[in-house]
């Protein structure tokens, strides 16, 4: 697989995106509405596996990262998009069933609503737990105890 295979696949699927080579590897940034068509095209075009999917609180919004791998040639691709706080995480489980667990985790730990998922329950925490991975949620133990 040539190094720019993802470019051809995304262009053929008419997905608006930017592609950069960073220290991390090849990073494709796109709009969230384009995630499903983009991943669909990439999955059909030889990116066999979703290695990982997770979300990060950037301080302004939530950034989703889809880490894909093509086993022929071991090409790695990071697809990133940004969701507003309290936004919607659209499931890609029917493209990559590997996303079934991490999507539930990302939704609960960053306070997003999960749509299109066959089982959109919480995965790790119980009902009522704060979205722990938000930067605005502090760790209680991090506050110093004042001794008089």
């Amino acid at each position: 697989m040539p190094a720019s295979a993802h470019e051809t696949l995304l262009r053929d699927a008419a997905v608006v995106h930017t592609s950069e080579t960073e220290l991390l590897g090849t990073v494709v940034r796109l709009d969230c509405v384009n995630v499903r068509p983009a991943l669909g095209a990439l999955a059909a075009g030889g990116f066999d596996q979703l290695v990982d999917m997770f979300a990060t609180d950037t301080g302004e919004a939530i950034e989703l990262t889809y880490h894909l791998r093509a086993f022929s040639g071991f090409e790695t691709l990071f697809v990133k998009c940004t969701v507003e706080y309290d936004g919607e995480l659209v499931s890609v489980w029917d493209i990559y069933p590997a996303a079934l667990f991490p999507e539930r985790e990302a939704a609960e730990l960053l306070g997003m609503s999960l749509t299109g998922h066959p089982n959109p329950k919480r995965l790790l925490t119980v009902e009522g737990t704060e979205p722990l991975l938000r930067k605005s949620v502090a760790i209680r133990g991090a506050q110093e105890v004042q001794f008089s």
Partner: protein, 395 residues
């Protein structure tokens, strides 16, 4: 716990429709409309290997649908790492995968080193590989023993605990800890190999060669054990790929991928080893692949002990690390598969975000799919064959 109930509808069949080719419950399987029973397996159950809770929807002995419920061991390691300095994160990661702390530590150290541009001395790489392979053996023997117990073989567990004890003694001599090591640090390792440890390792390997074959004969040579696990829990290549499986579970389904060989780190480029691959994808293949992995680990440990280079065991690293802003992904082959750390740095003294890509997390996600359609007794064996560690899944 109202959120962990299965949908107890009187309509039999799967609760959601999986993509074509992934579904295992035949449609219209239960036309007699017998009452289904919801069974809670775990979280306290000897064959769930920790605190795994599986909800089974049963029609007699047959599992109609299954749902793994995790999170009982969630400690928020990813969140806690955001308030720890880079040198302090190792202690958290030991507690993620408690059977393979050295692998998780190394993945993190690699990510930090690649981001900060730290050159690791050759000896540190070799010590890392040596301790990781010892740790892999210590983890795989636990798996072999507990998997045997799942299938009804009690004796091998007692034998492997003897071997694990010796392995933990060696690891203790090198790292100072038996399970919670905190030995691999960004830049190298915490301490040099102690004098005489090579003799200790060689002496162990000489008897372990025999012990391993003995365990294999006791377990794999047992007809009852074979009958219990052959053609049970078959995971096809496509399913393994789609669900993002890792490690031995993935290689047993015919995907020839090993991080040590295909994305090399530490000293693995200099070692001679084979990657066992099977094509059947059943529990037996997973057993065969892992047993062969142990033989390969023994082979690697011999090379590592014989060729251990001289030199420093750590690079000069500042007391407070501040890797430049950016992202880095580093993966290692843990006993359970590709264990990755995705590190996001903002240039500060603590990680901005640390994502632990846990192999057992992805391996576990297939239980719902692999168990449905099997018998309860097989469900136990299938979960055992996946080699899950809940500490790593829940983080």
């Amino acid at each position: 716990m109202s959120d962990v109930r299965l949908d107890v509808s009187r309509q039999p069949g799967p609760r959601w429709v999986l993509p074509k080719g992934l579904r295992r419950v035949p449609e219209g399987l239960d036309e007699l409309a017998t009452e289904h029973l919801i069974l809670n397996m775990g979280p306290q159950h000897p064959s769930t290997h920790g605190v795994l809770h599986v909800l089974l929807e049963l029609d007699g002995e047959e599992v109609q649908a299954a749902e793994a419920s995790v999170g009982y061991l969630h400690r928020g390691i990813e969140k806690l790492a955001e308030s720890r300095k880079y040198h302090q994160v190792g202690t958290l990661l030991d507690r993620a995968d408690y059977l393979a702390g050295l692998h998780t530590e190394t993945a993190f150290a690699l990510a930090v080193e690649r981001l900060a541009g730290i050159e690791v001395p050759r000896k540190a790489d070799w010590i890392r590989s040596l301790t990781m392979e010892l740790c892999r053996l210590a983890s795989h023997v636990v798996w072999a023993g507990t998997f045997g117990m799942d299938a009804g073989a009690m004796a091998p567990f007692l034998y492997i605990m003897r071997d694990r004890e010796a392995l933990l003694d060696i690891l203790e001599a090198i790292t100072g800890g038996r399970m919670m090591f905190n030995y691999v640090r960004p830049g190298g390792v915490f301490a040099d190999l102690p004098a005489g440890v090579d003799t200790k390792i060689r002496a162990f390997l000489d008897v372990f060669d025999t012990y391993l074959e003995e365990t294999d004969a006791l377990l794999g040579g047992n007809e009852i054990f074979q009958a219990r696990i052959k053609n049970v829990g078959v995971i096809s290549r496509d399913t393994a790929m789609a669900f993002g499986l890792a490690g031995g579970t993935m290689r047993a389904s015919g995907i020839d991928f090993d991080v040590r060989r295909d994305m090399p780190y530490a000293a693995y480029t200099e070692l001679d080893f084979d990657v066992p691959v099977a094509s059947g994808g059943d529990c037996w293949d997973r057993y065969v692949v892992r047993m062969e992995e142990m033989r390969q680990s023994v082979r690697m440990i011999r090379q590592l002990v014989d060729g251990m280079p001289e030199g420093d065991f750590t690079a000069k690293v500042p007391k407070v690390l501040r890797p430049p802003a950016g992202e880095m992904y580093a993966a290692v082959e843990s006993p359970r598969g590709e264990l990755g750390i995705h590190l996001v740095s903002d240039g500060g003294p603590t990680p901005y975000r640390m994502r632990l890509r846990s192999p057992a997390y992805y391996n576990l996600a297939i239980t719902d799919e692999a168990i449905a359609g099997s018998l309860i007794a097989d469900a136990v064996v299938i979960i055992g064959s996946l080699d899950i560690v809940l500490g790593e899944i829940d983080r």
